[in-house]
Amino acid sequence: MVVRIRMHGSLARHLAGEGADSGNGITITFPQKEVSIAQVFSRLRISEEVVGFVAVNGVRAAKDTWVTDEDEIAIFPSVTGG
């Protein structure tokens, strides 16, 4: 299955290796029908510590959510203030 990832803020740099900027995001293919958010992090080689929260299809999702074909995942960095 294929999911589309957008990384925001400081995390966008991690996508640079995958050939995208944070504006467009990238698509990733997994052989399984479903994967966990943790598996997505692992594939992107980012540690959970640097992630603030995640949204699946525009809605904030718990980090133990499972995603499936054509899901859009937004990954936001942790912040301390604003």
Binding site: G9, L11, G23, F53, V59, T80, G81, G82
Partner: protein, 585 residues
Amino acid sequence: MSYTGKVLRVNLCTGDVTKESLNQNWAEKYFGGKGLGVKYLYEELREGIDPLSSANKLILTTGPFTGTVVPCSGRLTFAAKSPATGTMLDSSIGGRFATQLKFAGYDVLIIEGQAENPVCLVIHDDKIEIRDATRLWGKSIFETESQLEEEFEREPGILSIGPAGEKLVYIACIGTEYYRQAARCGIGAVMGSKKLKAIVCSGSNDVTVPDMPGLLKLVKRLIWEDVLTDANLGIYIDGTPQIVDMSNTAGVLPTRNFQDGVFEGASKINAEAIRRLQPRKKACPACALGCGNYIRIGNSAVEGPEYETLALVGSNCGVDDIEAIIRFNAECDDVGIDTISAGNIVGFAMEMTERGIKDFGIRFGDIETYLKMPRLIGCQEGMGEELSRGVRYLAEKYGGGEFAMEVKGLELPGYDPRGSWSMGLAYATANRGGCHMGGFPIASEAFGDIDPFTIEGKAKLTIDSQHYNAIKFSLVLCDFWAVSLETMSELISCVWGREVSVAELKKAAERIWNIGRLFNVREGFKAGEDTLPDRIFTDPLKSGTPAGRVLPRDQFDAMLREYYQLRGWDSNGIPTPEKLKELDM
């Protein structure tokens, strides 16, 4: 220790200038910045004074790290009694004034009384002058700085007010380096009430620490291992605009006077929209990050817009035109008013007009009229005079109280509590009114791992967030460095030359929080004022993650009760004698 050990006190009634010793006992317990400022305020003010009278004081504090290479330490704190809320106020500003004050030889500057005619205070090392500033009175902040920069050879720190501060507008701010402000709670009006148009400061003295090699080694490691990391770099890469997409996705972005938490125009006012304008980065002294985005569009220039401005002046007013937001922002900075309150007030006026309750002649998205607002409000022209008094006043006079988005008279900033219940508690209990700087629990909650829609654990989360900020802003470290308590302990131990444990910092934080609360209690604040606008309890959000939700009143009440309990306060929210004794107060 790294203090100069000197407090500069200037009385504008008598013209007396005195240099006294820093109260070391207080410095040990309150550190500097927010804590020390509020402690001096509490001790030196008596209850019940008129904040716009000569009895109020403008207290400027640095911190133990100011003037050193400790990263993100170059900020100044103001403390005073707020004319907008009647509570204590602490407000912080970037730019070089704080470090210049320290290099001039002072940890604290206290301004008392009122001048008869407009004055400008000029400080260079131990040479202090109170100069006539009649020629500057009436000038905007940008004009004032432009004039003053010609008069001084060195590059001093300059603080000034615009017409809004002069006219005692409740949302007046103090500006520095053109584009930075201390803006909330009417701090600019306090300065204006003293007829103090500007303060200019430069210094040439050394700042010393007991273990320079040790500090340099520690800081060098921290800059690369703790500051320039994923946790913090977003603020350098994008600045605070990175939060627009976060808020919108979490459904907490104030939209059309907090009628919703998702804005259809968010992608036009987010970090990407700012990036397209190719900002130049600017940092405060000793900041290894650098959050400032300097942007010039046509005749308008800003260091910003910051997230709060994008939210309150953008989505909250139904405006998705980034250039219009920048122009509004620049007008606010020039005339000298707070963009958060200004945007919130304009959003309220828009809803009142659209609902037919009171015609303020402006609707959501009406850019033409909207762009006139900062000057109308700041210069007290036409309907600006009334609008400037804030949404609480407007609602009392015209109605619409259910959606006057304020707490204790301070307009709410950019996070909707219906999508982040801990922020609701944070807003209700912040010492200076509806504020996101008292504590920022949303970072771990809606923007983190914790379920936003439960009250479980939220009282403790909010208290911990408030304590984290209290100690951070008293050591004076910038909000944007996600520095741990352990690292703060390492830094202050090195700079003080004695072990300062995390436990000691936590206790100090609680003390700092309680002294602010005591100030308000002494002014007569009651528990009933620790609350939220009706809209939060009764009006469900419509879109996104929190669609259909309110923060239920009974849940809020339970959260607040637990908060008082955990704080060791009585059921009226008053710190008990036992708690005060425990905190050595």
